[in-house]
Amino acid sequence: MRAYFTTIWESVSTLITGMAITWRHMVNIRKGSVTLQYPEERWPRPERDIGFDQGEYNVIRSRLHVDMDDCIGCLKCERVCPVDCIKIETHRVDKGEDIPDVGHTGITSNGTKKALLVTRFDIDMTECCYCNLCTYPCPEECIYMTGGPNSEKHQIDYEFSQYDRNDMVYRFAKETSEEQVAIATGENGEKK
């Protein structure tokens, strides 16, 4: 009999304790609300005091971007990608020469002379796993995730959604016809 009433008492008291907690949350909603009104309010990028050279530490995971003027076509990013979402095709050209016809600059912003013409640099963002592995080996730091240290150059885009699946394949290289490539490569015309 005693246990019977103890059980009832325990039930009532613990249930009311729970109700008191939810009540407290309900009346303090103005202080406690954590909702972000998404399309109007965006998730703020965390305030990051890195304290060292930001160029080396690309602390963001977002969509990839390639500065094609700096790409030397070394294929390091393609090789390191664990899901094979990067595809690069290159052709041998004269070292360090600008070829304006196909949008090729001979010298990168770091001063490296390019020996390869990149005719194709595709990244399939539907397959990208945002592991950030491709940005580290890049010798020219031309592939990076947007919104990080280079956010002045490229606004952060949360959604980067598309209506067509094929639009998620980002083609960074300038479109070139075979003749253009043939002219540009000249006698070095073998495909690499």
Partner: protein, 231 residues
């Protein structure tokens, strides 16, 4: 590369070996810094190899003295009771390769013997040693009471792989053996419920074998080998 640079790098590496990593980190030029780091790694590895050859006798065997005793005692226990079943004792007695025939009996002995009490099967791994080599199953055993462990290797023939089950001895082996069967096709004899675990029932082939070939299609779904436009 100039000899000037070389000496600069050598300097920095020496400093770094002495404990001052900033000497390398403060190098402005990326390429020189990279070379310096590479040189440092080389130097450290050489130093380590030297150290090892000097102190190989003390350092090998690992762990505290008591641990060593227990390790060797487990394999010693095994070789005293089942001398004929042991093919090879490897790695200071931490790893023992057994014949498959009496494995079930040995497993029971291991679990129940007061000095062994290996009541926990940590892991059960199937291995394909190569297209010409046999298949292998590795058992990592551990005792919750004595806190010692041993690894058992058992080979299985490639054509007709059969190993006695330990599913009733360590219940965990139930699903792990099913997984090994699923992936390697090793039949665990007397297993009560030997079905594929992860792959569908009608999957063809043993996926984790080195000579496995992917199916062309599965239920009419063509398995894409290369991504379209990505050749």
């Amino acid at each position: 590369m100039t000899s000037d640079q070389d000496t600069f790098i050598a300097d920095a590496v020496e400093k770094a070996l002495a404990g001052d990593m900033d000497a390398i980190n403060s190098i402005e030029d990326r390429s020189i810094r990279g070379k310096a780091k590479a040189a440092l790694v080389k130097a450290k590895r050489a130093a380590k190899a030297e150290q090892k050859s000097e102190s190989s006798e003390e350092s090998q065997g690992g762990g505290t003295p008591e641990e060593k005793v227990v390790q060797s005692s487990l394999s010693a226990l095994l070789s005293s009771v089942y001398p004929d079943e042991i093919i090879e004792i490897l790695n200071e007695g931490k790893v023992v390769q057994l014949k498959p025939q009496k494995w079930n009996e040995i497993a029971t002995f291991f679990r129940d013997h007061a000095d062994a009490l290996l009541d926990q099967l940590e892991c059960l791994t199937g291995v394909d040693l190569g297209t010409e080599e046999p298949l292998q199953v590795r058992y990592n055993l551990h005792s919750m009471k004595h806190r010692h462990k041993i690894e058992i290797l058992i080979n299985a023939d490639r054509v007709k792989p059969e190993i006695p089950t330990v599913e009733t001895i360590w219940r965990m082996a139930d699903w792990f053996e099913r997984e090994v069967y699923d992936m390697y096709g090793i039949v665990f004899t007397d297993h009560r419920d030997l079905r594929r675990l992860l792959c569908p029932e009608d999957w063809e082939g043993w996926p984790l074998r080195k000579d496995y070939e992917e199916q062309e299609s599965y239920h009419g779904i063509v398995v894409p080998k290369v991504k379209e436009g990505w050749e």
